[in-house]
Symmetry: C2
Subunit: 362 residues, 2 copies
DNA sequence: CTGTTAGCGCATTCAT
DNA sequence: ATGAATGCGCTAACAG
């Protein structure tokens, strides 16, 4: 079999306990013996047995990062940032301290989310970071809340990143919540469009049962309402957070409501699909149709025209989530909730409404 | 503390051993007792202790997927596909069998790659999938080969996806290798450009020490050589696989070699940067400058003009890697190497060389 | 500062 | 088909 702690102890002529102590570094050991042990470790090429260690210590060094879609840079950026912070966390020279940050792809499936949570629980994970919008089905929410409570009870730190805080009643076993201002960002974006004279604005939303979807849509409607524009339900279409949704929704929208002068998409990926559909229809962006997205993904810059969108500091948020998950840094806000601001990025895909600047729907 | 196997045993009025057997399903148990145990498990909301189980069984259900950059869809797509296959692998109804597929982001750092491999080794991972190009530093390669040997010895299955096969001498502890035809794809692409009359072709390559970088560049040069064109070293620039590299490299290229009629980028992301730089310089794509990428990422479709590129079946390859990592499906090719074809995708970003069709550098 | 002694929770022989 | 006993490799009190 492989090399064990005792093997190292024998070679270093000390007791197993001593080896354990120098490896974990959390106990005073004479410099001479420490050196001897370290040399034995190197010579034997010893690697700690994680499961055994986790069993004895009742905790592991696993940190799980749950994402809805790993192929979507929105999640990739957050996950990468978090992982970088977690791995780099403890600057311990040689041994322990290292956390294993791993990302788990739920694919947006509630069942998979629960499965991963259970798997992480079974591994006695040190921390779990849940990223992105939550599913709003009451039953599923309750199940997740229950799981999180179990995890927290077992000593796992829970961090929410880009997901609204859990309701008070849920017992709030959450260490920290980075709450994206999706609603505010969406409001800003639609206000921008309104200021350009648009009044007939289509909206391509994400999946119905997601918090992110709902908040962005609500922000949009708030802006409309504040401007005294009645919300036309026919102008809002739901789909997935992908390009295909953007294409088909835009086609439908453009066919049924030719008087549309702008379309807001729930994220950049959808927006790209909307642009493609518009082009296919012979419409120029933004002269004939203004299009806006959300997230400010890297590729939003490279479209022609460059996409007007709402920037979310994904990298920074992910990094902070990583910090909160590992270190004992206590979160700032009340209830452990830290708001994350959204910033409007006006670029070239939005322009004045055709047929006047603020003339209304004439 | 939390619920243990014995707690379940007591409640179900059986021995711990029996509970273990029904949970693992790999042993005959009377239907009546099985039901009783299952009910106790449900009532107590019991979750297996992973570390304890791994310690006793000397294996875990962890599968690690190593990626160079999780924020890059190139890796996200492969990782997501692999993860989906691994999680869905065993259709076992309730209990065990479930594998925990996790992705580890090395960020392209050799040290992090080794660290993750060690961490995975310490967790006694069931399998490890290494995706994307390998770093070519001899010292690092040797270290990785050594680690992989250790892992394989401990029973971990190793799968390479998008990375060239390990040299024979390394002992080949690799279960399977999905080898992308980067060289062939690059050759196809440059041949396409040559057929359009381009002879002065710039090349924006990735990081020097990566296999992917080298193979794509070699394919490009092969095509050039086959066409009797001498390779001008000044036309090849190295950088990272990101947009910024594309921008700066294109600026330099365009400034120093104004007679360039085409630029090939080592991947789509770089190509997008090249397009942006060309536009900034007032050049039309493809009329004034043809631009091509590699990978066929989703966003390559949404640029204007749509990017000519080389398609790699990322999703399919990732899925196959997941299968090979979990099931005992033996790989097809000799030495466990399965070639993965690259396919030329001609779109709108490439066109005839300005100033004639094949007139040469006049 | 270091050695000794017990388990951590589970999978597995063996018996029965 | 089930129960009893043993040990996986390590950490954590205790001594000393």
């Amino acid at each position: 079999m492989s090399v064990t702690l005792s093997d190292v102890a024998v070679r270093a002529q000390v007791s197993p306990a001593t080896v354990s102590r120098v490896l974990n570094g959390n106990y005073p050991v004479a410099e001479a013996t420490r050196a001897r042990v370290l040399r034995a470790v190197a010579e034997l090429d010893y690697v700690v047995n994680g499961p055994a260690s986790a069993l004895a210590a009742a905790t592991s060094d696993l940190v799980g990062i749950l994402v809805n879609d790993i192929a979507d840079p929105f999640f990739g950026i957050m996950a990468g940032a978090a992982q970088a912070r977690i791995s780099a966390a403890e600057g311990v020279a040689r041994a322990g301290g290292e956390k294993l940050a791993v990302v788990c792809n739920t694919g947006g499936s509630p069942a998979r989310e629960l499965t991963y949570l259970t798997l992480l629980q079974r591994q006695r994970a040190a921390a779990v970071i849940l990223t992105g919008g939550a599913i709003e089905d009451p039953e599923h929410s309750a199940a997740v809340a229950a799981k999180l409570t179990k995890l927290a009870d077992a000593g796992t730190r829970i961090v929410l990143c880009g997901r609204p805080p859990l309701p008070e009643g849920a017992g709030a076993p959450v260490a920290a919540t980075l709450s994206f201002d999706n609603r505010g960002g969406a409001r800003l974006l639609t206000e921008h469009l309104l200021s350009l004279g648009h009044t007939r604005i289509g909206y391509v939303a994400g999946p119905m049962e997601r918090t992110t979807t709902r908040h962005r849509l609500e922000g949009h409607r708030e802006a409309l309402r504040a401007a005294g524009i009645d919300d036309d339900p026919a102008l809002t279409l739901h789909g997935s957070y992908d390009r295909a949704t953007g294409v088909s929704a835009a086609e439908r929208l453009l066919a049924t409501a030719p008087d549309l002068t702008a379309v807001v998409a729930a994220n950049d990926t959808i927006a790209l699909g909307v642009c493609a559909a518009a082009r296919a229809r012979g419409l120029r962006v933004p002269e004939d149709l203004s299009v806006a997205g959300f997230d400010d993904l890297p590729c939003a810059t490279d479209t022609v025209p460059a996409l007007t969108t709402v920037r979310l500091p994904l990298y920074e948020a992910g990094a902070r989530a990583g910090l909160l998950a590992t270190a004992r840094e206590t979160p700032a806000g009340p209830g452990g909730v830290e708001p994350v601001e959204a910033e409007l990025k006006v670029r070239d895909s939005t322009g004045p409404a055709r047929g006047g600047t603020g003339a209304g729907r004439g």
